[in-house]
């Protein structure tokens, strides 16, 4: 059975983009409030081991469906950009936005009575 560890309270993370980084079982884990949902991801960048979750939440440039040429911007606030060299990952899945062969561990989260737990 997964280890259930208290990592934060809902009161710690009231707004979208709020985050808290805690060490759990020797791993630094970050819990984000992403649009009212709580997401846990390792504070570890698979590029060169940078502190991923100390970076900015961001979005992604993409091309319009219409002509696949003009630039648009989507998913603002759903992605975390590493502060070291800007590799960017989906907070929900842990996948790198340009190449999903690069992925950062994510963890299930339980919210109970205003407390947020990560399951390891």
């Amino acid at each position: 059975m997964a280890n259930r560890t208290l990592i934060a309270t809902v009161a710690d993370l009231p707004d979208h983009g709020d985050r808290i980084i805690q060490e759990v079982g020797g791993v630094e884990i970050c819990v984000f409030n992403i649009d009212g949902e709580y997401r846990a991801i390792a504070n570890y960048c698979v590029h060169e081991a940078g502190p991923l979750c100390e970076g900015s939440l961001t979005g992604q440039m993409c091309t319009s469906d219409e002509d696949e040429w003009h630039w648009e911007y989507e998913r603002d606030g759903e992605l975390i950009e590493c502060p070291w060299h800007s590799w960017t990952f989906d907070v929900k899945t842990g996948d790198n936005v340009k190449d999903d062969r690069y992925s950062v561990p994510t963890y299930d989260v339980d919210v109970e009575d205003g407390e947020i737990f990560v399951l390891l």
């Binding site: 440039m61 696949e68 040429w69 630039w71 060299h85 800007s86 590799w87 190449d99």
Partner: protein, 379 residues
């Protein structure tokens, strides 16, 4: 990388050798008879005392080719093989066959020589006239003359829809196996959407695009060129820089996504610059995801699938180093080229000798000819 196991000696005579970057030595006089569709430019070119300077801006004032190769510096059509003294219509073909015979080459994919400067003209109209005349010259004097000589239809960077027309016109010729888009002076660079009509026509006609740089920095890096003291220093960087720029823009501007079936061949910049550039491209792709929204995979993966690089000039190093460079890029992306009859040519038997200890026979055959046969659709 495994040494050749075969008992027999590998030689150019025992395999298909395709020269993926060979040249004709066409002069203005060869092309003018085919320029009637562009009478205005024909008049200018005929009237020029030196079209290589006045029309094509072939030579910038500066170091360029002065004093090298022991030929008249302005006459890029001279070479050790220049036997084109007479006006005989078969002279170009005969000369090319002689070169190929001397170096064990079975098939030569030719582009022009003076026409490598088609994108450095003073008059964009002249570029259109040259492309059209050169293609007619191919049709009348080169194509169908010998099964060993294949050619690329020429396009200029101006009015890309005219380039598309040239490709459509020439595409039905059996001996046309590519589109030549010389990249010396190409502006905007290769990846630009402005050239899409050319790329569409290439895909429609199932022809790869050949990018051939020139050795003069002046066209592409004029500020740098002003500080260049000698042709030598300009030569070292001009071709690989140009090709790095075009490889880069083709990827960052999403050319392989716009035309997934387009095959691209970089000529005359050698091999070793490619892996280094790809590492930088992949790094940039990951570090600046917002700058490359048009790409959906690592730049190196597109290159692996549909980009090719010709060997000459390999540079001066050991066979082991060459083999390492080939391995870094991936031998399947590499095609032998001689550049004959230009003065910087590489010899097929010599390259074969250098590669033989380092690769298995199949890989060597692929590099020397089989890959080119498939890219160029040779029977």
């Amino acid at each position: 990388m495994a040494p050749t196991q075969s008992g027999g000696e590998l030689s150019v005579d025992s395999m298909l050798v395709v020269d993926a970057d060979a040249h004709l030595l066409e002069k203005d006089e060869d092309l003018l008879p085919y320029m009637d569709e562009y009478p205005g430019m024909k008049r200018y070119i005929e009237g020029a005392s030196d079209p290589s300077v006045q029309i094509r801006t072939q030579i910038y004032s500066g170091p360029n080719t002065v004093g090298i190769y022991d030929t008249d510096a302005r006459d890029l059509t001279s070479s050790v093989y220049d036997k084109l003294k007479d006006d005989d219509e078969s002279a170009h073909v005969d000369t090319k066959l002689e070169e190929m015979n001397d170096f064990g080459i079975d098939v030569g994919v030719v582009t022009g020589t003076t026409m490598l400067h088609i994108n450095t003209v003073n008059y964009p109209q002249a570029a259109l006239a040259y492309a059209n005349a050169y293609n007619k010259f191919l049709r009348h004097e080169i194509l169908d003359a010998h099964e060993g000589i294949k050619a690329a239809a020429l396009v200029s960077q101006f009015e890309p829809e005219k380039g598309a027309e040239e490709i459509d016109e020439m595409g039905s010729e059996e001996d046309i196996v590519a589109v030549a888009m010389p990249n010396g002076g190409l502006r905007p660079p290769f990846g630009s959407k402005e050239f899409d009509p050319i790329y569409q026509a290439a895909v429609d006609n199932d022809l790869p695009i050949l990018l051939h740089p020139t050795t003069s920095l002046g066209f592409d890096y004029p500020a740098t060129y002003r500080d260049s003291h000698t042709y030598a220093e300009s030569r070292v960087v001009s071709q690989p820089w140009r090709c790095m720029w075009d490889l880069t823009t083709s990827l960052t501007r999403g050319l392989p996504e716009r035309f997934p079936d387009l095959q691209i061949v970089f000529q005359e910049a050698g091999i070793a610059w490619v892996p280094y550039t790809l590492w930088r491209l992949d790094d940039t792709y990951m570090e600046h995801p917002d700058q490359v929204p048009l790409l959906e995979q690592l730049p190196s993966e597109y290159v692996e699938d549909r980009y090719y690089f010709t060997t000459q000039p390999l540079g001066h190093t050991s066979g082991a180093n060459l083999a390492s460079a080939f391995d870094l890029l991936g031998p399947e992306s590499i095609m032998f080229s001689s550049d004959l009859p230009h003065g910087a040519f590489d010899s097929a038997p010599e390259i074969l000798r250098q590669l033989t200890p380092h690769f298995d026979e199949e890989t060597i055959r692929a590099i020397m000819g089989e890959t080119a046969a498939s890219v160029f659709g040779l029977e």
